[in-house]
């Protein structure tokens, strides 16, 4: 394990790759239970990095440590030169990290268009601004950007609908729009296709590929292998709180330790 991460670090240094996020020696204990041990994870700029692993491997804990929802017992997460440990979630977002949740978190009481405009205001105005005397509808730049994004995602004609009434797949698309309008430097996706039909899953994969074309860095947590191998440039395998392998999709597929721990030796 440590060999793998050292190799990765050496490789990055050699290629001059830009590391956006680095989780260094992260340990997380819940009481006596060790959820994460000695995690060393580096996310390269512009790449889609998948974190896979069986249930209970610590994937969600790792994601929550990255976004500051859970403080690690030791170790640190560094994003673009800034230590994230101890920062509030809104501060971490303001640094350029947006998150898609397992169950879409949207503003169900607001219109689709307002759902997309609100995050744009957070990006433009920072975490707080008493913007009382301007009119939302007259913020032309933000409105146009939101509408064109909705158009790209095939939701423009639903922009005035109540977003609570959208289908699960549409809610996911809306949530992606809400993250993308912030132009995040890093997009975190927590099982973006969980509970979706095969059709919706494929649509979502297509959407995420579109984002990939825009060169956005993404971390995706997933256990659907179809999704992972369709999207990932790099895969890290988590088992029992440790990263047991990290590498290109092809290498991961063939790694015997991975097959044993996760694919059950049955893959291929």
């Amino acid at each position: 394990m440590s060999v793998t991460s050292e190799n990765a670090a050496a490789g990055n240094a050699a290629n001059g790759k830009n590391i956006v996020l680095h989780a260094a020696d992260v340990i997380k204990n819940f009481g006596g239970l060790r959820a994460l041990s000695d995690i060393d994870l580096q996310i390269e700029e512009g790449k889609t990095h998948a974190i896979i692993g069986p249930n209970g491997a610590g994937k969600s804990t790792l994601l929550n440590v990255i976004i500051g929802r859970i403080a690690p017992t030791s170790g640190a997460v560094v994003f673009d030169g800034t230590v994230l440990t101890g920062k509030a979630p809104h501060e971490i977002n303001q640094l350029g990290i947006s998150r898609v949740f397992q169950t879409p978190e949207i503003f169900a009481d607001l219109s689709v268009l307002h759902n997309v405009m609100a995050p744009a205001f957070a990006r433009r105005d920072g975490s707080f601004r008493l913007n009382m005397f301007r009119t939302t509808a007259r913020e032309a730049a933000i409105r146009e950007e939101a509408e064109s994004l909705l158009n790209d995602f095939g939701m423009w004609d639903r922009r005035d609908d109540h977003s609570g009434a959208l289908s699960r797949g549409d809610k996911r698309r809306l949530e992606l729009c809400m993250c993308l309008i912030q132009h995040p430097r890093l997009l975190l996706l927590d099982e973006p296709t969980a509970g979706m039909s095969r059709h919706d899953t494929n649509t979502t994969i297509e959407l995420l590929k579109k984002i990939k074309l825009r060169g956005m860095t993404k971390v995706i947590i997933e256990h659907d292998m179809h999704v992972v191998f369709s999207l990932a440039d790099k895969i890290s395998v988590l088992a029992q709180g440790r990263i047991i392998a990290s590498g290109l999709p092809q290498d991961i597929k063939e790694d015997p330790r991975v097959q044993e721990a996760y694919l059950g030796g049955a893959a291929e």
Binding site: I67, A88, P89, H90, N93, Q94, S98, R99, F101, E105, I106, F107, A108, D109, L110, H114, M117, A118, P119, F121, A122, R123, D125, G126, S127, F128, R129, L130, N131, M132, F133, R134, T135, T136, A137, R138, E139, M178, Q182
Partner: protein, 377 residues
Amino acid sequence: MFHLSRKDQIKLAIFALVVVTMPIWLAPLGAAYPGLMQKFAIYAIFAIGFNILFGLTGYLSFGHAAFLGVGSYTAVWSFKLLTMDIVPALIFSTLLAGVFALVIGFFSLRRTGIYFSILTLAFAQMCYSLAYSVLTPITNGETGLLLARNDPRVIDEALGAGTVGGAGLPTPALLGNTVSGYFGFYICAALLILAFFISQKIFASPFGLALRGIKSNQTRMIYTGFNIRPYMLAAFVISGMFAGLAGGLLSVTDPIAGAERMRWTESGNIVLMTILGGVGTLIGPVIGAWVIEYFENIFSAINKNMLNAAFDFLPDGVQNLAVTVLSKFVGEGWHLTLGLLFVLIVVFLPGGLVEGYLKLVARFRRGRGTKPEAGGK
């Protein structure tokens, strides 16, 4: 800064017209006297402010009476110490209520939901008790804070303007014109229209959008980069300042300030007004305030004699029965009627009277759509 959407402009124009013509359309309802219409306007301002907090963010404050009380006391003190002119009185009422809201909000907003409500209630009750006990030098306790002839009134003194009102107690004035009767009402009405306009601006602004976001999904707000605490505090302070202005106006129209304005029943009243009219709508809280003020002042004044007169056309036995039954619901029993109305609305129209109106409109439109000839009649 003063821009409104076309729809909002029309709403504002209609609203202003309705408010200004109150003396005309309230006359058949028996409520067209200035003292009552002033209250209609003042409580509507209070409700509009409360709705900016409760309607947009969903945080239910049970302590807004504290700000009403602070506003009242401040205005009377401004009359006593500075001048009988109402402009400084209203400015100080609004600002001081804002300061109180800042302090109370700072602590109360550390909690959400029921705990937030309880904290605001606790703070308001604290203010109420203090006003009756240790703060008596400032509040004059149970008697209430009154004007006196020998108050310093340094500004009036310096300007050499003799106190308006001659031999009796001085009366509040606007630039030398005594504020009373219809003049008092139109001042309140102008401020009500201004309050409605500010509320429209907030509803349509990015700030208002953020407040709605807080009501809708706090998790998403945080992970979208909004810092919720200052947004909530700003909403709390703004709504506290509306309450302060309302309190100041109560003192302007009747320069006595008593602690009873800070009682929890007063806080509860504003919650009822907002829910009755329609939480989170622009006009709902105003309508709620008017309905409740109407009940409190007109319905409560109906007595058996008036009922007897109204049912004079019925045969004796039926008349007696009708009067006996109905008398339980009017006069002293107005609380019963209001309570029943409130229960009916919360159960059948959770969106308040505004929702009821919208449902009626929708039904009427649908009816017209299917049977055009029926609509033509």
